[in-house]
Amino acid sequence: MELNDGNLQTLTEYLQKTLSPDPAVRRPAEKFLESVEGTQNYSILLLTVLEKSQNEVIRVCAAVTFKNYIKRNWRVVEDEPNKISDPDRTAIKANIVNLMLSSPEQIQKQLSDAISIIGREDFPQKWPDLLTEMVTRFQSGDFHIINGILRTAHSLFKRYRHEFKSNELWSEIKLVLDTFAQPLTELFKATIDLCQTHATDINALKVLFSSLTLISKLFYSLNFQDLPEFFEDNMETWMTNFHNLLTLDNKLLQTDDEEEAGLLELLKSQICDNAALYAQKYDEEFQPYLPRFVTAIWNLLVTTGQEVKYDLLVSNAIQFLASVCERPHYKHLFEDQNVLTSICEKVIVPNMEFRSADEEAFEDNSEEYIIRDLEGSDIDTRRRAACDLVRGLCKFFEGPVTGIFSGYVSSMLTEYAKNPGVNWKHKDAAIYLVTSLASKAQTQKHGITQANELVNLSEFFVNHILVDLKSPNVNEFPVLKADAIKYVMTFRSQLPKEQLLETVPLLVAHLQAESIVQHTYAAHALERLFTMRGANNTTLITPTEMAPFTEQLLNNLFKSLAIPGSSENEYIMKAIMRSFSLLQEAIVPYIPTLIGQLTHKLLLVSKNPSKPHFNHYLFESLCLSIRITCKANPDTVNSFEEALFPVFTEILQNDVQEFVPYVFQVMSLLLEIHTSSIPSSYMALFPHLLQPALWERTGNIPPLVRLLQAYLEKGAATIASAAADKIPGLLGVFQKLIASKANDHQGFYLLNSIVEHMPPDSITQYRKQIFILLFQRLQSSKTTKFVKSFLVFINLYCVKYGAIALQEIFDSIQPKMFGMVVEKIIIPEVQKVSGQVEKKICAVGITKILTECPAMMDTEYTKLWSPLLQALIGLFELPEDDSIPDDEHFIDIEDTPGYQTAFSQLAFAGKKEHDPIGDAVSNPKILLAQSLHKLSTACPGRVPSMLSTSLPAEALQYLQGYLQAATVQLV
């Protein structure tokens, strides 16, 4: 591609087309450009258009196209062709810095990005003159150029902040320092001087302050890995200037904007970060400067306003103080009572105030407010920073700080009492202060777990919290009500039980509040109280204690779901679930009404499921209703089915993907409750459950397998008689599942249920096929998980159909197959089987093979008899072998091409572990002893001789133990 006018013209035209809103024009143009980008000179043409075009839009378009081209192609990947020719690379590197610097800002940013992409690959070895070229420009005196250089340097160097130390990295940094540190320092000083000169020129100041901010960022990157010799030597210059800048105020640079941080804030914020870096990492060298910075930053905080634009600066500044004050050798900076008082009064208290922005969020954006306030996503807020500072100060000054704050708390409460309508925010701040002062350790599950002993939480509760909770008008001062509820929630582990019990009915009343935050907190608080544990591992609050409030609680919870904005409130639904679970049979009388409401809700949300947590707890609540009611009276299962099946049918028919797995779980629960044969309503659904489409969704597989297992348990006979034509389809599901390394265990669950429950005749014709499939999978991709499941299955089969049947079916597939499986699979792998029931099945199965299978005694399989017995004894006695071959470790990930909906398991739809052998065998060791005894009496002399010739002494010793325990002797 030659560099001529024709080509430039063509390129311009295509670039123009890529801006077209019409995809029919745009896409072909994009395709074309991509198809020619491999040709030599393409990038040079692009840069020429960028430089020479008269059309501003085309220039920007060329810049963006160029950057994306660099992003895609610059890196040379090993074993792949070099996508940009070497002359082009050289030409690009030779021109790009100049080009960037002479371009308007919009283009400059694109090119700066491109330079850092190239730099990431080529700098420093393959682009040795980049740095010097950049440094030279510092002398240009043109701050448009200088800022371009600084921005580029920042994007090149910022990775030093997070990469691991390595020789390569440090060599690069050293090189950068050698070339860059001195000029950067000169530039820093010169820029500060210029700020003096142009102190009244707002436009000049703006540019200069962006330079200073960038320089401060570069300082941070260059000093991050370790303290460079250069900066140690020049610490005086940098720190003195940083300190001056921190204390500097320039009216001209103050902005009117309340939200967006101005240049001054950005610069000071970065300086706080720089100081924090030095304080943390280079303490020894930084010590002489630290006190000055503490004072400056503290003064900064005292003089900074409440506007949102200062938030980052303030929270960075407070975090700096918080990190310094808990270091032993700086504690003297804070220990003076006056200092502590000032910090408390001027830094902490003001930053805990409820601001108008908070008030807006409380009213209009309650969801976000709750997430921030309740779930702690407030990591960079002022309140959070202030709390951290309180905790930091408490490390050494818990007594004095508590004393100072107690004074503030009471004065704020007095203010409030004078005129609550006007001064309610004072009480809010007081409560917040008490909370932050008292909390030493906290978890979601238990609230505060460790509290400041100097704060009397109970007394504060009685004097200030209870009043608000008891207030007859639930809708007055919603923020204070929410604070009070949150107080109970937060300190629930600290408050005595009587006080908690006292609040329960009050919280129930607050469920009726109009404020979303308020009733949400009430629901959440109740939910948390209900999960508290009392003595002997029961709930702290008992159903009996709840009896007087049960009706009101349930009523209000359901009514609060009708308040605008809370129709799918997950906290309320979770509280409903938790109330059911706590109250147990006490809810039975209300269920007939409630189930209608829950079903109605389900019908509504199934139109458009949008709140996964709400929906999950809704299904959990349904499960609880069913379990609790049917436990008292199993016959009521029919009425649940009557209520639920219409909605379920609609969900299944409309294929509401999010809900289908839940529906299967609830249906499994219902079906498992049935004691007689399977109802016809279920049988009608059976063919549909085998539809391939359902099985294609990952989330459906576990609940569907469980549902089919329930069908087999309750209705195997019905299936065999009335739906025998569906058996191949059922086995087809098994076949599909075992083909997958991730789902094969589910396939085995199904197969085990089939073998356990289906009448033998009904599956006779398929047995051989089943084994062939299993052998094929074993041959093609054997994994530990598969082998474990396989072992359990064949032993279950052996238990059910007998050892002879097992041996015969194996040998009918291929001669000597049985011996091969015993030798290559059972003996070496049985040790890996895990789970009590699974091990028991294997033990009983192997015992049968050893003692009820003539082929093991009389054919060439005989040589396997002793090793198999030894493996069985190993299964009894040795620890489980949980080693997995190396290449299997990542199987789950490798075999997952697309991540689909996760299966959401319902805790309250839980299934008990099933033991197909049950009480028939209580101790497999005794069974082995007895079975060997029986075998030895059938062929006297043989068993003892086989044992004595080939069983190792240790195994023999264990065996003697079993024989003794069973009081039998071998003959």
Partner: protein, 484 residues
């Protein structure tokens, strides 16, 4: 590890989960690129030219020039004098060489070597009849040996080691007024001869010097002790075979004793030597433990100088990388409390070493030992350090947290640990690290969150994409033969 016996293999397979114990230990890394100023104490070691022996006039200007011509002429004159048969001329030549080599800037070390003077100087070392000549030659050689490793090597190659050792027996060192001064210089020379790593000093040379160094380690002069200790620290800063040679001299009890000295100049190199030794094999570490190092370390971990704290923490981190019996000894000897103190209050470099100690401990310790460490407050302390501005430290901490969780899994106490981590604010910090710019850090944080802190974590069931098949049951092609 020199030998690969069974227990070592077992260790790298299970205990340290694939990390070679040697790798876990030897973190004094080959990374020699430094951004910082060379450390002050070590800086003194590098160049300490012997310029004024006794009271002499300051160097004349002619010796302080960088003019090649002048220097070359001066060297020619030295060569002539030194090769002269007259003892007086020889003494003059040596003295001139020594002065030339003592200048602060750019001493012409290479030029002296290239002028072939070393052979003659070494020869003079043996001139018992002329002590002045002997010592002038010695100081010249010393100044050359204090250069780069090439210079040191040149001195050794010329057979200076046995000559220096012989010189230590010189009557001058007992009778002269300057005896102590001479002995200090000679000790310093020996330490220089031991110093370099690329290449290491020859084994035979080390063997020759060791007895003298050990003897000097018992001297009462602090400066001599210091340099002798530095010599040991250089000799132990290498592969395990080199450490072995030092241990075999039986020096360990003395080194441990020196750890208790007040003088920083002695404690620092003694501690460095011990640190090097415990970074060796398990047996070598055990030898140091048997010599009582664990009773000396707690005091050093509470030393007022943070550089000493750091070195002590480094030693502990290497002992913690050993088998659980050695970890048990850390517990018995009361090292956990000072370790946790360092994690809480040490300066950053010390905290970093202490973090390594925790990670090594938790990856090699038994479940009980890990529980004990957590009870001592180490978990809370490392969780606080997750705010450290150093990606590697953060990653190492996440590793330790993971190890502690593995122990909790074995005890069935994961939930309890989760609560503990959350209580002390650790969960917030780990969650925050999911935004870390460093990929390894963010992945490690994410893995912890997913595995232990995500409510739905256990419900996820990954699987393959389903095919469009009809689920028709039946094996397609029956394989000819199954063979497992």
């Amino acid at each position: 590890m020199p030998t690969e016996n069974l227990s070592d293999k077992r260790m790298s397979k299970f205990k340290n989960k694939g990390k070679e114990p040697t790798k876990m230990r030897d973190r004094r890394i080959a990374e020699c690129v430094e951004l910082r100023k060379a450390h002050k104490v070590e800086g003194i070691m590098k160049r300490r030219n012997i310029s004024s022996v006794g009271d002499e006039e300051p160097l004349s200007p002619e010796y302080n020039t960088d003019n090649k011509q002048v220097i070359s002429e001066a060297i020619q004159e030295i060569v002539a004098n030194v090769n002269n048969e007259c003892p007086e001329k020889q003494r003059q030549g040596c003295q001139a060489a020594r002065k030339l080599l003592s200048r602060e800037r750019n001493p012409p070390l290479k030029e002296i070597v290239e002028a072939g003077l070393l052979t003659r100087f070494v020869e003079f070392l043996g001139r018992n009849d002329d002590p002045t000549l002997q010592f002038e030659a010695a100081w010249s050689l010393t100044n050359v040996a204090s250069g780069t490793s090439w210079h040191t090597q040149q001195v050794v190659e010329h057979g200076a080691v046995p000559a220096f050792i012989a010189l230590l027996a010189s009557p001058m060192l007992n009778i002269s007024e300057q005896a102590v001064g001479y002995l200090r210089n000679l000790t310093w020379t020996l330490s220089n001869l031991c110093r370099n790593k690329n290449p290491f000093p020859r084994f035979s040379a080390v063997q020759q010097m060791l007895p003298s160094i050990i003897q000097l380690l018992h001297h009462s002069d602090k400066s001599i002790l210091s340099d002798a200790c530095w010599a040991i620290s250089y000799l132990t800063d290498g592969p395990n075979e080199r450490i072995d040679v030092v241990i075999k001299t039986g020096v360990l009890p003395r080194l441990v004793e020196l750890l208790g000295f007040e003088e920083l100049a002695v404690v620092t190199p003694a501690l460095r030597s011990i640190g090097n030794i415990v970074s060796g094999s398990d047996l070598q570490t055990q030898a140091a433990i048997d010599a009582g190092v664990l009773s000396a370390l707690p005091l050093l971990m509470r030393h007022p100088k943070s550089s000493v704290q750091k070195e002590a923490a480094w030693a502990v981190s290497n002992i913690a990388a050993g088998p659980c019996q050695q970890i048990q000894q850390l517990i018995t000897c009361g090292l956990l409390a000072p370790l946790v103190d360092l994690l809480r209050n040490g300066d950053f470099k010390t905290q970093r070493e202490a973090v390594w100690a925790v990670t090594n401990y938790t990856s090699g310790g038994t479940v009980d030992q890990v529980v004990h460490l957590v009870k001592c407050g180490a978990l809370e302390a490392i969780l606080n350090l997750l705010q450290a501005k150093d990606a590697k430290t953060v990653l190492v901490i996440l590793d330790a947290i993971n190890n502690i969780f593995l122990a909790a899994e074995k005890l069935g106490e994961v939930d309890k640990l989760c609560l503990l981590v959350e209580e002390v604010g650790g969960l917030d910090r780990i969650e925050f690290l999911q935004n870390h710019e460093n990929n390894a850090v963010y992945r490690a944080a994410q893995a912890l969150i997913e595995k232990y802190f995500s409510e739905d974590g256990d419900d996820q069931c990954l699987t393959t994409e389903a095919t469009d098949s009809n689920f028709v049951f039946g094996a397609s092609d029956v394989q000819k033969r199954f063979d497992f």
